[in-house]
């Protein structure tokens, strides 16, 4: 059984494609067997809605009269990077206002940051723009304060250099004091465990060898349509193995994604705050997986019982960059709300919204069924576990 992108798209156009969310595909494969499920289904839709710090938007603000270089730019008091051409800026999700107290009154609140600015823009709320510059012969203006909305400016596109983590640590705290991390508040002495993927619904957990997700893959991004632009930063795909050689699912891949912010929705892009850590951004992403052959179907049918997260201590091991982990737990165990770590029962909670991930997979399924969303064959595939890329440690 093999299908091509063209064959699947022809079925989508005539409304005959069979599309299932990853949740439903897992159930179908368990019920009918993999071969039958692979034959029957053309596309499996995945979804994730979780904090993705490495996100931001490029904006072209347009020129005032007289023209201005805009050397420094603030949006609602949050600095935007402007070291590119005049009136182009990049507003990063984790940037915070210069007068934010940060962690000086520990743990800091980080109530507003770049992610909130992007949410305000996409919600079509007015945003205060302040810019300063040195004057030049072509760009004489030195100061500007005005209010903009997303519709007033030329371009606004999301460009997130590291999103959709294939898998992520299950974070715990072995120390004796509460700690505040990008994995949330972790109570001392294994008081709780936080994880952050949507398990069997999560896009890259369903394509461990990057056989279908590549450059140019059309995706659901922030409620609109986006594309995979490149592999993400820190893209180190691998297949996890237990000490006795059992396969524990993939880890390490990431995506750089791009899309027009003007057609996205504040429902699927939310500014967020991690107490004691910083400001960030929750992004909704959904990726269609074409069931081109049975091997792709096998990976797409992986259930929460077959996908695992490494347990990592954030009190000592993580900050000190000590390699290794404290073992693996399956997403089925994590979703039950109780895991065992060092013989102790620990309450587990997600930071990634499973209901919203399911909703995204459902919306994408609907788009495809309605013929509104065709699949794209990647222009180039991304590095896979076979490429053996691993992270470099910085000397210093």
């Amino acid at each position: 059984m093999e299908k091509s992108y063209a064959e699947i798209n022809a079925k989508i156009k005539t409304g005959k494609a069979v599309v299932l969310t990853a949740d439903d595909f897992v159930s179908l494969a368990e019920e009918k067997g993999l071969a039958a499920a692979a034959r029957q289904v053309d596309v499996v839709t995945t979804g994730t809605f979780a904090p993705m710090c490495s996100s931001g938007a490029f904006l072209n603000l347009g020129h005032p009269a007289p023209r201005m270089k805009m050397q420094k730019v603030w949006l609602n008091g949050v600095p935007a990077y402007s070291g590119i051409a005049a009136v182009d800026v990049y507003i990063g999700a984790t940037e915070v206002p210069e007068d934010d107290p940060l962690n000086s009154n520990y743990p800091g609140e980080f109530r507003y940051g770049g992610g909130h600015v992007i949410e305000d823009l996409v919600a079509r709320r007015p945003v205060r723009l302040k810019a300063t510059s040195y004057g030049t012969d072509c760009y004489p203006r030195r100061e500007l304060e005005t209010t903009i909305t997303i519709d007033d400016i030329n371009e606004a596109f999301l460009f997130n250099p590291r999103n959709a983590y294939q898998n992520y640590n299950c974070a715990v705290n072995l120390g004796s004091r509460t700690i505040y991390t990008y994995m949330g508040m972790l109570k001392p002495n294994l008081g709780n465990a936080h994880y952050s993927t949507s398990g069997q619904l999560s896009p890259l957990l369903k394509d461990p060898h990057f056989r279908t997700v590549g450059i140019g893959t059309r995706i659901f991004l922030g409620g609109g349509v986006g594309y995979v632009a490149w592999h993400g930063t820190q893209h180190f795909p691998s297949i996890q193995k237990s000490p006795d050689g059992k396969t524990l699912g993939p880890a390490g891949g990431t995506l750089a994604v791009i899309g027009d912010l003007k057609q996205m929705s504040p429902r699927w892009l939310k500014g967020i705050s991690f107490v004691g850590y910083g400001a960030s951004f929750a992004v909704g992403i959904g990726i269609p997986i074409p069931i081109l052959d049975e091997e792709i179907a096998l990976y797409a049918a992986a259930s929460d019982r077959e996908l695992y997260a490494p347990v990592v201590d954030y009190s000592e091991a993580y900050p000190s960059r000590t390699p290794g982990n404290m073992g693996y737990v399956s997403y089925a165990e994590l979703k039950s709300g109780r895991i065992k770590v060092n013989g102790k029962e620990v309450p587990a909670a997600p930071l990634s919204s499973y209901p919203k991930a399911r909703e995204i997979a459902g919306i994408l399924k609907q788009w495809i069924e309605q013929g509104r969303f065709l699949l794209t064959e990647p222009v180039q595939l991304l590095p896979s576990p076979a490429d053996g890329i691993s992270g470099k440690a910085l000397k210093g």
């Binding site: 809605f49 609140e109 949330g184 909670a349 997600p350 930071l351 990634s352 499973y354 209901p355």
Partner: protein
């Protein structure tokens, strides 16, 4: 009889009066103070769990003294629009008032179990939890 949870608000003018003492002594109520923030000449709040036959009489006494009395469930609210149902609050909430319903993994908030510790206000990434005043 199930204990009733209430929130009391004292104006600065009455915060130095022995109101809880009279509540216990005159109305024979079992009082468990879950939370108290009462200072002389300042507005104060208190969260109580009370049990007894004369709860209604006790409440009338409190109101006569100028204390605002509210059922506890009115105190912490969730902005349902804002909540993204991530679940990050569910292993932090000390009473299980915020919990995940399985298998849907939707976040539920049961105000009856909330003791207004306000931890969720601090840790909710989208700030969906609010104190209703």
């Amino acid at each position: 009889m199930a204990p009733k949870k209430i929130v009391l608000r004292f104006g600065p003018d009455i915060s130095d009066k022995p109101i809880i003492y009279r509540l216990v002594k005159d109305y024979d109520l079992v009082v468990n103070i879950l939370k108290a923030n009462v200072n002389p000449q300042k507005e104060g709040t208190m969260v109580l769990e009370i049990t007894g036959d004369q709860v209604d009489g006790g409440m009338n006494y409190l109101r006569d003294q100028g204390v605002q009395v509210q059922a506890l469930t009115q105190e912490i609210v969730r902005d349902e629009e804002r909540c993204i149902m991530c679940g990050g609050c569910t292993a932090i909430c000390p009473t299980g008032a915020l919990y995940l319903e399985r298998p849907s993994m939707e976040v539920r908030f049961d105000g009856d179990n909330c003791v207004v510790c306000q931890l969720c206000l601090k840790i909710c990434p989208v700030r969906a939890m609010e104190v209703k005043l």
